[in-house]
Symmetry: C2
DNA sequence: ATCCTTTTGTTGAAATTTCAACAGACTTTT
DNA sequence: AAAAGTCTGTTGAAATTTCAACAAAAGGAT
């Protein structure tokens, strides 16, 4: 477990918890670690919403597929980030999402019921953990709110520009890489891939941006 | 404050907190109550994200308006429900939403910093409050997730059907009233009002549903 | 009961998105 | 280094959505 301390310290869930305490707590919570190869399913739709997932290395995609087979990508989760926490905390019976490894991954799973019901040992860090979980959920809500703002735009162009603006804000720079290829970006923005390519081409022609595959550079000033 | 106990007891934020304790806590937290007439602004975009709002009577709409003046409706908040908690808990500097009263309303405001930083009196109920807040945020995330599922549908028809399905599930019945008129429903589903009316007409003709203004009855079996 | 206002449904034209299919560029594998 | 596979950009046609404008229906006020 110790080899993961470096990344776990960066995880918002464990803010303000000392290394030694963290090790004790993870034992107490019965944390388990699994590894997954690229494209493997980390969690699948319909399964019980029991576990919170924490990405220790690699990254995963949160996806949803409807009965016509249309994939939609909800979000991309990087190392040190948490996923599926809302379903586990809300004690939903089953999760409505599928989680796929983007690359070889190590994932930590924690049974959420161990977090929600204070353990018999009365870890003193438990209250801090719940507080951190609350902060994490608030941040997730903000992120979902951003995604709603993107999807609420009516045109492919506006969806794309809104997304790029949020990314620029996130990275604090007008030059950044996105974690999606074209098809994935289309599935994230919920638009047609070819239409998206056309729109990117137009923006390039208009001098609004430069882009090469996953790299983007915004050339219009975000005041 | 006592006259609001009946509704406050129904608020998820105060689960497992006894009446007497609740009164003490609300004082401790410096809760304030304001009243608003129909269509008045309860909170406006850009203002500091300091307060959590609780609807004591009436209902409010969470809206967002872009620079072209397109209104989008994020959600409808009924009595005993909470709003703006995510922005306050995540300590965002300003809120990106505007809250409008649907009808005459009484709203309780609590400065979130009083919740996040345990007060000097060390109320014992404080930990319970934070736990409840976490649960509430998890539930909100689920709701946002549902809205994302609606907006991720590509056609007006599918957005509408997905919304109606969630409503039927929420009310546990195929017959229910929605809290929106046509224009508001269009602003919630992020589609054109006239196109929405056409789609409702088609579904009626196909025998999929019956509807009259805000009342809907689903005639296809959700297995 | 009548007038005034708001809401809903309709329609046709314009704009946009989706779909399917393909070619060229780029990667990865052998 | 060649072959195979994946990703991106293009294109034209079909389907859908948006927009604007108006009429009918419903609700409120006097």
């Amino acid at each position: 477990m110790k080899k993961y301390l470096k990344i776990l310290r960066k995880c918002a869930l464990f803010h303000q918890i000392e290394d030694e305490d963290l090790i004790i707590m993870l034992n107490c919570l019965g944390a388990k670690i699994d590894v997954f190869d690229k494209k493997y399913t980390v969690m699948s739709e319909g399964k019980p919403a029991k576990y919170i997932g924490i990405v220790l290395s690699g990254s995963v995609q949160i996806t949803q597929t409807d009965y016509y087979g249309n994939r939609s990508i909800l979000s991309n989760i990087e190392a040190a980030e948490v996923f599926a926490e809302a379903f586990a905390c809300a004690e939903t019976h089953s999760i409505p999402i599928t989680v796929i490894a983007n690359e070889p991954c190590e994932i930590m799973f924690i049974d959420c019921s161990h977090i929600l019901r204070t353990c018999s040992n009365h870890c003193t860090f438990h209250q801090q953990l719940i507080f951190n979980l609350m902060k994490d959920l608030a941040d997730k809500t903000i992120l979902f709110h951003q995604k709603l703002e993107i999807l609420s735009k009516r045109s492919t162009r506006e969806k794309l520009l809104t997304y790029l603006m949020f990314q620029a804000k996130k990275f604090g720079s007008d030059s950044f890489d996105i974690p999606f290829d074209r098809q994935e970006l289309a599935d994230y923005l919920e638009v047609d891939r070819s239409g998206l390519s056309v729109e990117i081409g137009k923006l390039r022609q208009e001098g609004m941006l430069e882009s090469n595959r996953k790299h983007f550079e915004l050339l219009w000033t975000v005041k």
